[in-house]
Amino acid sequence: MPPVRHGLLRATALAAVLLAAACATRPPADDPEALAEFREANDPFEPANRALFEVHEVADRFVLQPVAEAYRDILPQPVRNGIRNLLGNLRAPVILANDLMQGNISRARITLGRFMVNSTLGLGGILDVSREWGVPGHSEDFGQTLAVWGLGEGFYMFVPLLGPSSPRDLAGQGVDFAINPLTWLGQGAAVDAAGWTRLGLTVVDTREAVLEPIDQVRATSLDPYSTIRSAYRQRRAFEIENREDGGRAVAPAGVTGFGQGVTQPAPPETRR
């Protein structure tokens, strides 16, 4: 049984129930600025989202964050980098499919070339040889592909354990999961164990990558919920735009992202 599917379905069902339970009040029509702000936030289920955010915060403080901190303390950075590179490389088929679906042949060629080089010379993806050669990676997901096809993100959602999202991005994650060859590859206890390990490492690696930003938000934000909502929206818009200037790779999805290994700027030698 593919490991992610159950959790995803359950989270979506839970979200749907809670979303139906509480809606944000729309400001009166005689206050156009407030109305514009309401539309911009596009968070009609804000009360429910805030409740889910609190649930997530508890789970994060007691489980996710301590695990991510232990992961950082125990494993030295080169090992963590290797894991990050490996996870990014395992996602390459999904990135390639999305590059192609977006009609971006040059980025598809980069993804394919990186996958071939890193899978072989990079010892199965542990080393990001391509990046050292000045070909940094990028991420793509089906949520971004839908955006390129012209679909709006829809209302804001906060899904516990998955983080900030939207109907488009949540559906995109489902499609990415379905088109990933690893989802359908083989069966048996060993394959299941490998699948769970990959999922677990992805979660821990992603959380580790955002330890400082999240600490920062908690320490300095007057309202972390709306800070994260705004940051997620901006980040997604930036990713969809595919602005890649000066060797800076466009990062994968923020808190919910996978394979963070592609977020780093190009190494100093290849810069300038």
């Binding site: 950075q77 320490a219 300095t220 800070t227 940051a231 800076r248 990062a251 700027p265 810069r271």
Partner: protein, 223 residues
Amino acid sequence: MTSNRPTRTHIRAMDRRTFLPLPFLAAGLAVLPRGARAEVDLNRATAFIQQAGNELVAAINDPRLDLPARRDRVGAILRRTIDIEGTGRFILGRYVRQANPAELAEYNRLFDDIIVRNLSARFGEYRGVKFSLGRSQQRTEEDALVNTIIERPNTPAFSLDWRVSEVGGQPRVVDVIAEGTSLRLTTRSEYSAVIQRNGGRVASLLEAMRNQIAQLAAREGRG
């Protein structure tokens, strides 16, 4: 002297000359960037960020300074690098008009305190930090975006974009952007959420800001 005094016909001619181009002038003014900002030169903006960055890195890595001294030094550099007042006004957004003069004055004071404390606490901990200019420096409509790469021991490098604007004839930082996320936009949505969730009162934001400053001060005392 009398010969210098303009006659009626003179005045009428002058009137015509002065007032004919007025619609064009008005149109020109309308498309110009609002406020007193002039266009910023990209090279100047880049040099400005490089200098401020070098000063910051020198202060952070100065072995003779302890943590509080480092924070003070960093705070002083930030105050002359960032357009704190303009950024504060941008962040308060539409509530600038709702706030009364006393509230606005207090907001400016609290915002200055918060931004300097937040940023100097953050940068003050970046021991061993290295900073370099990135490859992409670009102009936008009103300002320049200067890309920098921040490297710290035992953490992957990350890139930060600094939005530099011309404020009162001097280049000033008006925003910091990390991976496409602008600090002033997230802060604007954060502040407006606080006001909205407390009955649309600017006073409630000021209260939250005062609380935060007390917390930051307490943490600095411990650190």
